[in-house]
Assembly symmetry: C2
DNA sequence: GTGTTTGCAAAGTGTTTGCAATTTA
DNA sequence: TAAATTGCAAACACTTTGCAAACAC
């Protein structure tokens, strides 16, 4: 049985990135890129989402795909939390709010922040990227409650 | 046998932070804070350093102490690499170069960067902190060598 | 003395990897 | 058919935790 090329814009983007449009990658890329919305995912959240669409994909494949997509420039990795990796479908220059309570990311448009007076990088090195993370929280309670360490 | 209070500036800082100046915490705090230099450590690097001074401290205790020191305001945690946590003895407002090749941090003085036009945080939240990470690298080789993925 | 801290080893997280089976082109 | 990809389970690196022994005050 002859199977023709998979057709569609997403398949083309994968091919253009040098990635075979397999069933798994198509499902992942579709969730991530199909509607053009800016999305922030973790491996776990993406895995959940794809399975909710009844596509069987292993978590290992999700991790692999996220890195392949990132290397191909389809995604960008955002480091904001030591505990897990985030990937952003918006690969243009921009910064982030990071909500430390809900552990969620919000894009700040590239023009939203001016970083000025960047010092020279140390000799022999070049600036690869400038990341600005604005950490936000629900305001701390004012009233009597004493401040106790919160379980991590 | 009566043992008096441990004396010394470091011991006092620990007490002021509500932490008993135990042998382990004293050794860790001394390495970190005694000479007033700005230092960036990981649990692993600090553990190595303290042991090099022939003080027996378990890695678990180093982790615990780093968090206790951080909660007490003696240190500041810096998130730049998903693979490990960094702690900075400089708790004042400032930003960082992060050398992705050597995985090392370099302080940028508070005045070294201007972040302007910060947008309003989402309703109900407040800005807890603004982190700027300038990622630096050795410039990519220009010559013929093809670009292959580097093992992580 | 009594509550705190330590160290160990075990458990936990998120992530990566080796490899046989499967799939793509 | 040949090469790329997948899934599983095991391995990993880093970090946290339960608990008895050691320690600070």
């Amino acid at each position: 049985m002859i199977r023709p090329h998979v057709h569609g814009a997403i398949a083309d983007r994968l091919r253009a990135a040098g990635l075979r449009p397999t069933r798994q990658r198509l499902a992942l890329a579709t969730v991530l890129l199909a509607d053009g919305r800016d999305r922030h995912v973790t491996a776990e959240s993406l895995h959940r989402e794809v399975r909710a669409r009844d596509v069987a994909v292993s978590l290992a494949t999700v991790y692999n795909a996220l890195h392949q997509f990132t290397n191909a420039g389809l995604l960008r990795e955002v480091v904001v939390d030591a505990a897990r990796s985030y990937f952003d479908t918006n690969t243009t220059h921009h910064h982030h709010f990071y909500d430390e309570d809900s552990r969620s990311l919000i894009d700040i448009p590239g023009s939203g922040i001016d970083v000025a007076h960047l010092p020279e990088p140390p000799p022999g090195s070049e600036i690869a990227q400038v990341d600005v993370v604005v950490r936000i929280r629900r305001p701390a309670q004012a009233a009597g409650a004493s401040v106790r360490g919160s379980k991590r």
